[in-house]
């Protein structure tokens, strides 16, 4: 896969998702659903699955998917990020679906992937804990072998849709080391609460597990290497979504600068505003290069991790930069509740801290590339 090659099929996919969301999830709808009980529009969820087949797009064909890759999924996520769509799609499809497919665990894939592919199941990935670390090595939740299965005990934090997802993929530690386990969200011993979050369009939960029955997913024993692959998948997906969000901020800022008149001229004719917009474009385009490259090499083990953290660190900061500049260019109107600028700022700053912050990604890149290595 060569970075940057956009095929006509990619353009069609992008256009179809964009059209659906423009039609069914404009800003007013986003605001309605973000304040609702369920947090998302089930009709949009159904159309995404039945009409466009997005849920199974990047899942293997033998489990009901279309056999696409992270490149195609990245296109979808960029569009969801553009529209700021509140949806269980990210946790279910981009996290749980990709993680299951990468696990190589036939039994787990057969059991859950068809449901994810046809939109009948919601799922998520539970990694971080109260310590706030996203490193699989730091997980303390215990997995104890009981007969044919396992029992989990511990507390998970910052779990996307953790309060509502039907299937929980939980990172926990057995005597052999960290591994991945599947838990029914309604199982006895699961206590879940929704967190109050800065980001109003993405819900996070806290999950307390007390002797909850679980099934091992993926490699037995110490699965640290697999869990790093899991983290990489999550970061590549998030980077694509961040590029979409940053693009909306740029478009909104440029659109406003063209029509807002002060001193008898559009503010976009002032160099101070032009330079801000040019700098936003620079970061958005660099972020897009990084995100697309990471998606393109996601299945090449030698390149994947470094390309992933490059995208993760850069896209996160580019989105926050674009969100802040968009708000600034809008001035007073951008500071109001009714304007969407703050929704993007909330999403940008929050997603900077999902799966690790930019500084942590740079630390990992330094490790991966030997920057801090011996003399």
């Amino acid at each position: 896969m060569v970075t940057g090659f956009v095929t006509p099929e990619h353009d069609q996919l992008r256009a179809a998702v964009r059209e659906l969301l423009a039609d069914r999830s404009p800003s007013a709808a986003v605001r309605r659903w973000m304040e609702s009980g369920t947090g998302y529009d089930p009709e949009v969820w159904r159309l995404m699955s039945e009409q466009l087949g997005l849920h199974g797009l990047a899942l293997p064909e033998r489990y009901g998917g279309a056999g696409g890759s992270l490149v195609e999924l990245g296109i979808v996520l960029e569009e969801l990020g553009r529209a700021l769509l509140p949806s269980p799609f990210f946790a279910t499809v981009a996290l749980a679906g990709q993680v299951l497919a990468a696990s190589g665990d036939e039994a787990a894939c057969e059991r859950w992937l068809p449901g994810i592919a046809d939109g009948s199941l919601t799922a998520t990935l539970a990694l971080a804990e109260e310590g706030g670390s996203w490193r699989p090595e730091d997980v303390a939740t215990k997995a104890i072998s009981v007969g044919d299965g396992w029992k989990l005990s511990g507390t998970k934090m910052f779990v996307i849709d953790g309060h509502s997802a039907e299937l929980l993929l939980v990172v926990a530690r057995s005597e052999a080391g960290p591994g991945l386990f599947a838990v029914d969200g309604e199982a006895p011993g699961v206590y879940r609460t929704r967190l109050d979050t800065l980001d109003l369009t993405r819900r996070l939960g806290r999950i307390e597990l007390v002797d909850v029955p679980a099934v091992r997913v993926g490699p037995d024993g110490d699965a640290t290497a697999f869990l790093h692959e899991v983290l990489d998948l999550a970061l590549v997906a998030l980077a694509a979504e961040q590029v979409g969000g940053a693009q909306t901020c740029l478009d909104a800022a440029v659109g406003h600068a063209k029509v807002r008149v002060q001193f008898d001229r559009p503010i976009g004719s002032f160099q101070a505003i032009k330079h801000k917009c040019a700098d936003m474009l620079l970061r958005v385009e660099a972020a897009r290069s990084a995100a697309r490259h990471a998606a393109a090499v996601a299945e090449e083990p030698a390149e994947r991790s470094a390309a992933t953290v490059v995208a993760a660190a850069y896209c996160a900061e580019a989105f926050t930069f674009a969100a802040k500049e968009n708000l600034q260019i809008h001035g007073g109107i951008g500071y109001t509740w009714e304007h969407d600028a703050h929704l993007f700022l909330r999403r940008a700053k929050s997603s900077e801290h999902l799966f690790g912050a930019p500084a942590a990604h740079r630390t990992r890149l330094a490790e991966l590339t030997g920057i801090g290595g011996p003399r």
């Binding site: 940057g4 956009v6 505003i273 630390t363």
Partner: protein, 400 residues
């Protein structure tokens, strides 16, 4: 029998990309002119000799038409050419004529002009230097004041140009001069080729802030230039300024990334040697440069892919110059800071680290956001031409 002059040129369909690459690589390796001489005169002869070798064998001018000695390669093959050329570490064309004036001449020159000028230019027999900027016409190039007044079949040229690289070596100076009224701005500018050896042309080296002379200033006093050496119509030279052949510059988009990949690796090795990478703040900065140098490469790949797929370079290429300029300034300044007091020793001090290359780079890269359009002008251009923001109503009409 294939003549020597066409050995490098073959029909593209006659070989695969890999075969083309292998053939080119073999030629560039076999005929490599060896190490760059330190003596300036020897160096010039070494460069000229190589350019002639390249031309005579049919391996010069990847984007140029064949009738003027070029190879007329497709864009995909130009990318391969630039990769192999950079890999072989060979002398670049002398002066700026091949890259800037050549495409202008190819597009706007008369048959007579093309026949007379193009082959010697590409072969390196004649060195061309640019004469655009003036002391009072930098970002606002349309304010230029060097005049060319008509005297029969000649122009009489008077004025001063500045920031001319390689003008001290030049045989031809391609210039923008005012043939219209002083107020005519872009409607009274003509494009002239001036013989650098003509009476009345004085070229002086310009010592820049590094203490060295990388540029010149040029003074024209009653210089007689034949009207036949004007490219395009009188008073209508402005539209000729930004001529390029297809996307020839984008074909080398990956090379700058490769150069900076190497420079960053050298900086990382230096930081490690000095024990600085035990500092997490140093590692964080180095990782940030690692991110940017990789993105530089990814963007180069995207630009090339966009051109191959759609014929246009896309939005990513519009910001790449600014991205690179900021990167190289930040990188060199960080290197100086990393070295602490040793970083601010001069180039000639025996204790300067790596002959003071980093502090010299710190000074030299100040030019990255000034030359060939300041960063501010670039941002204006991006905002107006890519994002469609309105032009500044206070500026003169249609200036750009």
């Amino acid at each position: 029998m294939t003549s020597v002059a066409t050995a490098g040129r073959r029909d593209e369909a006659a070989e695969t990309d890999d075969e083309f690459r292998a053939r080119l690589r073999a030629f560039l390796t076999d005929r490599h002119p060896g190490r760059r001489p330190r003596d300036p005169d020897e160096r010039l002869a070494w460069q000229k000799g190589w350019l002639a070798t390249l031309f005579d064998a049919g391996y010069a001018g990847p984007s140029w038409p064949r009738e003027y000695g070029g190879m007329a390669l497709s864009f995909a093959r130009q990318v391969i050419y630039q990769e192999e050329y950079a890999r072989a570490r060979l002398p670049r064309p002398l002066g700026t004529g091949v890259e800037i004036a050549g495409p202008t001449l190819i597009r706007y020159g008369t048959t007579e002009q093309k026949d007379r000028f193009l082959r010697p230019l590409l072969r390196g027999d004649a060195i061309w230097a640019q004469g655009y900027s003036e002391p009072d016409a930098g970002s606002d190039l349309q304010a230029l004041r060097t005049t060319a007044s008509r005297d029969g079949e000649e122009y009489l040229v008077n004025g001063q140009k500045v920031w001319n690289s390689a003008a001290d070596l030049a045989d031809v100076i391609f210039t923008l001069v005012r043939t219209g009224t002083p107020e005519s701005r872009q409607h009274g500018i003509s494009y002239l080729l001036i013989d650098a050896h003509a009476p009345g042309v004085v070229v002086r080296p310009l010592r820049d802030l590094t203490g060295e002379a990388h540029f010149c200033e040029i003074f024209f006093t009653d210089v007689r230039v034949p009207v036949a050496d004007r490219i395009g119509a009188e008073d209508d030279g402005w539209p000729l300024v930004r001529t390029s052949l297809g996307h020839e510059r984008a074909a080398g988009a990956m090379n700058q990334a490769a150069v900076y990949r190497r420079v960053l690796d050298e900086l990382i090795a230096l930081a490690r040697d000095r024990g600085a990478t035990t500092d997490p703040l140093v590692r964080d900065r180095l990782a940030d440069f690692e991110i940017r140098v990789r993105i530089m490469r990814y963007t180069g790949m995207r630009t090339i892919a966009d051109i191959l797929a759609t014929g246009e370079p896309g939005a990513s290429s519009s910001t790449s110059r600014l991205f690179i300029a900021t990167f190289e300034q930040d990188l060199h300044e960080f290197a100086v800071d990393l070295l602490g007091p040793y970083g601010v020793l001069g180039r000639h001090d025996a204790q300067a680290v790596q002959q003071g290359r980093w502090v010299w780079g710190f000074l030299r890269t100040r030019a990255s956001t000034i030359g060939a359009g300041t960063a501010e002008i670039q941002r204006n251009t991006i905002a107006e031409q890519v994002l469609g923001l309105p032009r500044d109503p206070a500026l003169p009409k249609d200036s750009r």
